[in-house]
Symmetry: D2
Subunit: 335 residues, 4 copies
Amino acid sequence: MTSTRQFLSDNAAAVHPKVWEAMRAVDEADAPYDGDRASAALDERFADLFGRDCTALWVATGTAANCLALGTMVQPHGGVACHREAHIEMDEGGAPGFYLHGAKLLLCGGEHAKVTPHTLAATLDPIRDDVHQVQPHALSITQASEYGCIYSGEELAALKGECDARGLGFHMDGARFANAVAFADAPASAVAGPVDALSFGFVKNGGMGAEAIVFFDTDLADVARYRRKRAGHLQSKGRYLAAQILAMLDGDLWLENARAANAAAAEIARGAGARLLHPVQANEVFLQCDAAERAGLRGQGFGFYDWGEGAARFVAGWDAREEEAQALGKAIAAL
Amino acid sequence: MTSTRQFLSDNAAAVHPKVWEAMRAVDEADAPYDGDRASAALDERFADLFGRDCTALWVATGTAANCLALGTMVQPHGGVACHREAHIEMDEGGAPGFYLHGAKLLLCGGEHAKVTPHTLAATLDPIRDDVHQVQPHALSITQASEYGCIYSGEELAALKGECDARGLGFHMDGARFANAVAFADAPASAVAGPVDALSFGFVKNGGMGAEAIVFFDTDLADVARYRRKRAGHLQSKGRYLAAQILAMLDGDLWLENARAANAAAAEIARGAGARLLHPVQANEVFLQCDAAERAGLRGQGFGFYDWGEGAARFVAGWDAREEEAQALGKAIAAL
Amino acid sequence: MTSTRQFLSDNAAAVHPKVWEAMRAVDEADAPYDGDRASAALDERFADLFGRDCTALWVATGTAANCLALGTMVQPHGGVACHREAHIEMDEGGAPGFYLHGAKLLLCGGEHAKVTPHTLAATLDPIRDDVHQVQPHALSITQASEYGCIYSGEELAALKGECDARGLGFHMDGARFANAVAFADAPASAVAGPVDALSFGFVKNGGMGAEAIVFFDTDLADVARYRRKRAGHLQSKGRYLAAQILAMLDGDLWLENARAANAAAAEIARGAGARLLHPVQANEVFLQCDAAERAGLRGQGFGFYDWGEGAARFVAGWDAREEEAQALGKAIAAL
Amino acid sequence: MTSTRQFLSDNAAAVHPKVWEAMRAVDEADAPYDGDRASAALDERFADLFGRDCTALWVATGTAANCLALGTMVQPHGGVACHREAHIEMDEGGAPGFYLHGAKLLLCGGEHAKVTPHTLAATLDPIRDDVHQVQPHALSITQASEYGCIYSGEELAALKGECDARGLGFHMDGARFANAVAFADAPASAVAGPVDALSFGFVKNGGMGAEAIVFFDTDLADVARYRRKRAGHLQSKGRYLAAQILAMLDGDLWLENARAANAAAAEIARGAGARLLHPVQANEVFLQCDAAERAGLRGQGFGFYDWGEGAARFVAGWDAREEEAQALGKAIAAL
């Protein structure tokens, strides 16, 4: 696993040196749980970033962030509309069922793993408004999407219109929110749009084990605070999580890291042409390529996941080495 | 919160330097989740320590450890016998209700927060064996107890007898298991006794955010593995948690730290005499003292929690300074 | 079980002839679930009875009624204050844990199984207002209580004051509400007092399998409607349940039956004197009597339950025969 | 709703006179819950019918029956494979999420709403055997299917093979099991095949509010018994439910009623020809017909549900009048 040619997952990357530094800097006794100074600083730091009031809670994982956020919007008898390839549906081991006490995911289609007003309506409109069918309580989207694609401000506004019309809470899974902002070259607030809560990921982007749930509706945070403890996610030495997040926000390290990852992905995709299954708008490249081609790339030392039968997924971490990304890009172009 | 005279909580202590080192040592890309080499080493290390086969899973918090362990033993319609002052009853924000899907805690009495066969029977015997009452599925005890007291080998064996007779799983909350072993001066296996699963705490004892659930019944671990992910506790960079635990096990650092904490508690208690509410067998001291006395101690710079109306709790961390503990001990003796 | 001297349980009684008639009267095709005319008539009928707007849902059992009602007031991370001998704590097989998704019962003391502002405070005041402890969301009381005792209007108002001060929903388990009204000789509205939802029992009082959840806060009913279906309690031929309830309300049959049962209990208790463990205010008599005395009564053909070591419980159904109650009363007086 | 030309739902039908009689016959005091003689007789009666040991529990609704049965086979972190148009997925208001504590339905395709080994594999094979994805624990099929179609003995055996190979429990939703047996003209045991538990429906077939969960694996029944109480489905006057079921079994009334319903459906479908969307193998007819045609039928007094845009569903109850079914059949033939 020590290959320098590793494009398996941004989850595997190292921790950024500045994150280490910040963690060391809080390594003296402070109040436990979230009573420490670092934790106390989070709300204001995110409010600065987003230009509006918010409450931010740290948790160790994106799964916990997503599910705790949704738990504030969805009653146990309700449902969450999401893309059928969303992480909460595909890869969280049933965590939404657990955290939402049996609420149901209502699956929507959409190209590039993006929900649209049209695909949302196609899923929700047939639901009869009676007690025999699970009614939607929230919409959850992923920014950047599971296929590394970005919702524009217009798209977000349109979805918000649907949420309002249907009485839904609006959640954004931002495991790669930084990559989305880096791509959009717009303020974080524009890329988050009008959501009620954002799971803001740092682990894939240079952190160790800290994500933020940013609640723009602070009443929701008051519920989530209890639920976080109840889920065993209120770490007693929470200052080490807060420190990671603050370090990432300092000097926009989060953005710098995401830009590096996105740039590496762009290098990988540079010569891929028609092989690209999705536009490359973040740090992931999905490529049509057959088994022989994949074997060839692996023979050159590149690590990546198969994506079904005829495709491969390459993910660039914040610490991807430029020359390796270029080498991979050339190898792909040469297929 | 920077007082060197801090005896509020072992939760507030710093991270041990060797733990930092070990975390840095895994700071290169490795497989995500628990596919890394450090995580893979845990089973064997704990098997060595306990002298029998076991499976160990890391999680970030003791609450998660306790509840994931119990979730493998207790069906949603069952109950968990525990002391009425147990952490799972008093301080986990209802986490057992969440993780056990509504199972019930069946509260037992017992001096020094220790369950006995007698107090267990007093709670369980009146439960009619019919569907109208919640039937017990497991017993959970705390070693060292909430009042810093230790179950002897004989006591554990007697409780195991009850568990067998009643068909109960047996869980040990070992948030301060290290302190119990340090006090008992016996092998870890004797202090864990015949339990099916142990929540082995490291965070209070020099770790940052890693506890181990040690399953001596490895079938239970197979369930817990799925539940850990489902609870959002499978961190993607799990190697940093595994590294903490391995560092604590290396050269018996866990025992060394616990001995230091216990020694400090003994210093604090040295002159307390009849004021002691419970024998001091770990790193906690519970002291009868009135408001004026508490104010006096605080006036001398000592930090601690009130414990109800007429008492105080002092907890020594692994990094308690000997001279401070002695100073506190003298101040108490002088009350 | 065909003894005419049966005082085991009002659950065992027959169905009242007028209830049978009403069920037969709806035995033609009508809309399924609660779309039928009988179900549609419930809200108005209960509004007439209580003199204020309400929404009433039928369910088959008191357990379902209690738990569905509480589910509208209590979030999964919250708690329900109730008496430690309440039916929801003692006899519902953990149903509150299931229906409330792991919420916790917070147990209060109180003579005659009645919660008072004082016993409520004794349980709730020590709960720290932080995320480590389960916070109360509702209070549930039983009218008549588990020991057949009645809350007065003043007592209800005082508890409502506590609920308001603490932000709690207020629920009444009225499995024997009819007996309470019959005893109080007051309007139903006074005996329900200012609760938000009432489980109004009919099964023990001449019905077959239909209770009503009466929501005085109709928003709560909108949640309960979904939860009822989700719990499998929306029967497809709901008209037979609605018909039972309407029959009981017609001409105050519910009150007539309850008066008969109360009168029988009064006969039983007439000569009991100091043996009475609780005042007899409904249809239950709790009597101090030793094993030999109980054997003696059983030898005379009387059926009843032991109540712990030295006591017995006698319950009079709506169809208790006056002469049998008198005979039992004399037998008790003669002990 | 008093139309004699009603083909909306078999849920709306009246209660069979023999069922009424049997209910009246138990209208004397007997032991509450399921301690009465009628409830005690169920196991043997179903064992006779199926020719093998079984344990049968009554509940009021099919939703409760299905979910209580599945709850014995599926852990909260697991999943249930079922057809994407199964009642548990479409029409039970999220009850499986509630009863299974957040377990997930894993949706399969298949013509006529029937799961096949092939469609099962298409859903289950792509599930990676790791903790990130919900693993299947059971298969649930519907006999007759949601489109009124029957699984043959061979089809059931093939599915059982899949269950065994994959380690799945096997459940059958038999809301219209009687209609399936009537069509198959085979023993009940052959139509149930090798399932572990069967929800045997009576409400649509002449009962009032009683279904049976028949467990062929009696260990599962021991769990279900607790869960039934916990779900508020253990009615205190259970003898009235048991009596309904016994009445239906007596003299094969269940089969007689189902034959009548099936015959009516056959009449309806007689001249439908190519309009039939599914073979008519039970008591349901799904017909292609446009809005004008539907309006025409309704103009003749026939009641039925639209089935999406261009179709209609007709269901014949046990009490469908032959002449009405014939009239409808002719009206359809004349379209």
